[in-house]
Symmetry: C2
Subunit: 206 residues, 2 copies
């Protein structure tokens, strides 16, 4: 897996998750940045490099293209300490990854997008932003409660679940406008991730 090419959006948390794991694994790869609304993104779509129409997409040396950040994390994490070994522990990790994609990202990331991307500003009505704030605080509360029992989301060590959840949670205050003062355990967990050897911030590629 040394000749990997990653099509990713520098400003996107979903893309960042993959770049973060690759950094933590010290895994070399070729990065093709495709920012939102950029000619590079249009070209990547036109060339068939994004089969499911979305970023990130990992291109393997044999030509296989893997889509969906969670699936890419799974592939890259195999055989590393980032994936636990038992089916139950794997399922508990995957539960948080599905939670993130189904309930967290459509609220936390969407509110951040409406705040930060000028071309979406007309959708950011006060009603929508207030609803997303309420829903997001409820989601973040579920996470805060889970950290009462463990420093990491799935077991005693960091797993792909932590990387997946970190992607949009660590900017939920700065980009999403969520009130993170309510969630001290999440703040401490974010600090633990940022202190991991090899950690690379979202803005390193922006």
């Amino acid at each position: 897996m040394t000749d990997l090419a990653l099509y990713s959006m520098p400003s996107s948390g979903n893309s960042y998750k993959v770049r973060l794991l690759l950094a933590l694994l010290e895994h070399p790869y070729r990065h093709i940045p495709c920012e939102a609304n950029s000619p590079a993104l249009a070209q990547a779509k036109a060339d068939g490099h994004l089969p499911l129409g979305k970023l990130p997409a990992l291109h393997l040396p044999d030509g296989t293209i893997l889509s969906e950040s969670g699936a890419i994390l799974w592939y890259l994490g195999q055989g590393t300490p980032w994936v636990p070994e038992t089916p139950l522990a794997q399922a508990q990790m995957l539960a948080w990854m599905f939670f993130e994609q189904n309930r967290h990202e459509p609220v936390i990331a969407v509110r951040a997008s409406l705040n930060c991307y000028p071309h979406l500003a007309d959708q950011a009505t006060p009603e929508v932003m207030a609803r997303l704030a309420d829903e997001g605080h409820a989601i973040l509360s579920v996470m805060e409660n889970a950290l009462a029992h463990s420093p990491w989301f799935a077991g005693d060590a960091p797993t792909l679940a932590d990387i997946a959840l970190y992607g949009y949670t660590h900017t939920a205050g700065s980009r999403g406008g969520f009130d993170m003062v309510r969630f001290p355990r999440l703040a401490a967990w974010c600090a633990r991730i940022a202190a991991l050897p090899g950690y690379r911030g979202l803005d390193a590629d922006a």
Copy 2:
């Protein structure tokens, strides 16, 4: 895994996915039905039986509670032909499962809910329903195109990806009001799943 208890919503596709896999595996379990807005659902939440606040939830004999339909499928599918063996094939399966939870379910299932649940009827404005129809037909087109190359979504045999996608796709016409005549490969794929030995329909528990 013989003394499993499943808290599930009879009318929900997410819950149905788990019941369908258990039926296909001929795996016995105790079913605790918790329909939307029912006293049983309120009781299950109050008793702490749904740690992430949602159905389905699988209770294992040792007291462990597993949430998120995709994670439950992963746990139950281990060691069966429903989960492929290589990390790449697993990742390709998981990609469709994440696609389903992030892009398919929030559109296909949500439009069906707005159509079918009386307590949501006030949200089903013409504008919302038209937007969900457009988005859903685009999602279904991605699936239709994928079936041009294979009878199943991840490889030559059915996997958890097919069960996850089937949950809300097979009722996208009847409940969601999507125009399924446009998607003949999806119709044939639905028929292949319904012909699998042990198949159990959504309404068997409703």
